[in-house]
Symmetry: C2
Subunit: 223 residues, 2 copies
């Protein structure tokens, strides 16, 4: 919902009004009709614990069909789903209908599984987050506190955030449910293990820059 001038397009399109994360343009009339929810525009219900992590990356608890109106404004291209359970049918139907790709990294969410978060799952999920071809992407688990908090924490370490700020952010979402084992996991996560992954992408990308350009691709989940 921002005012944006772009000299390359016609007048109506020049003033682009974007809801959260929206990439394509709406026209003025839609905005002025619907502004401030005074023109009969739907009230949007973000999923529990929803927040913006970074440009094109969102986090939340498990979205339900109540959140579909809101999710549509995000124009999601993919979901990083951190629970081992199959995706619920009613949401799967929506996700498939709009062509959102689900990357599932099943992590046990029980309190007893101290330090049981598998490094491979976090690394796999980070690979998805780092590749903007998957953006906009929503990370979610059940409540958006622990598994999502751990993944975002590792992502912040990759961004060179000091541990104090990483923990502050984790605790903002987990609140009273903060788990010391999660903080310990984030602290212990060795971001240098991601170097090879990122340099591998760069290498493959460089390999594909000639006339016979190949698509940049990972092995496995990111085909």
């Amino acid at each position: 919902m921002f005012l944006e001038a772009n000299d390359q397009v016609d007048v109506k399109e020049r003033l682009v009004l974007k809801p959260v994360g929206r990439n394509d343009s709406d026209d003025i009339s839609r905005f002025s009709d619907g502004l401030c929810n005074g023109g009969g525009e739907e009230v949007l219900i973000p999923p529990l614990n929803f927040a913006v992590v970074d440009r094109g990356i969102y986090r939340s608890g498990f979205p339900t069909t109540n959140n579909i109106g809101f999710l549509e404004t995000l124009k999601l291209r993919s979901i990083v789903y951190l629970c081992p359970e199959p995706y619920p049918n009613e949401m799967l139907e929506y996700v498939r209908s709009v062509g959102i790709r689900i990357f599932q990294f099943g992590i046990d969410g029980s309190k007893e599984s101290l330090m049981s978060i598998p490094n491979d799952s976090i690394m796999g999920a980070l690979r998805v987050l780092l590749d903007i071809r998957n953006h906009p992407v929503l990370i979610h688990c059940k409540r958006g506190k622990h598994r999502t908090g751990c993944l975002v924490g590792c992502f912040r370490k990759l961004q060179s955030w000091c541990l104090t700020a990483v923990f502050e952010e984790y605790m903002r979402f987990a609140g009273m449910k903060t788990r010391i084992s999660d903080l310990r996991f984030i602290e212990a996560f060795d971001v240098s293990c991601m170097t090879e992954c990122v340099l591998g992408i760069i290498y493959r990308y460089h390999g594909g820059c000639g006339s016979q350009a190949r698509r940049l691709s990972y092995s496995g989940d990111l085909s």
Copy 2:
């Protein structure tokens, strides 16, 4: 810090790696050298209570000189400052040196000032946020809880978020310091009062689309 392919530019620029909110491109070598803080890259210290509100909009508590390294990654164009006190000299020096514009809307932050948040200040601040020429923009007060929380809450109402989600977000930052008077302010804030402002911008913008295109401008603080 994302991998971004853009066919319009040369190979080095095609793989753009962006820290939070960074708009211009870094090259590959910078990233691969500094990745994962393994190449001597500085640890970044975000300000207290820092978070991304939306694309190009950030929020936090009062930034200090310790945060300058982090702030530089945001490439801020402006700051919405919500305290009545003058901006501290040591930060003012940095802000001026990099050409960041400060929009000050002085709001009394004391607990006793129940319902004393002036509507005009919030509306003025919202005008700044809605205009992407001011992005990337950082909203801050002292602790990033109350005044910043109220402004972001009103912004979310403009985005048609349901009040439950608006309050959840406010409370995530204010925690135990949540003020009922703030929630009441957000609830009572009439977003339709922004319609005129936005339509005014649209009107002026349309007025400036001919051969003698004028700059889109507000009266007052946004010259």
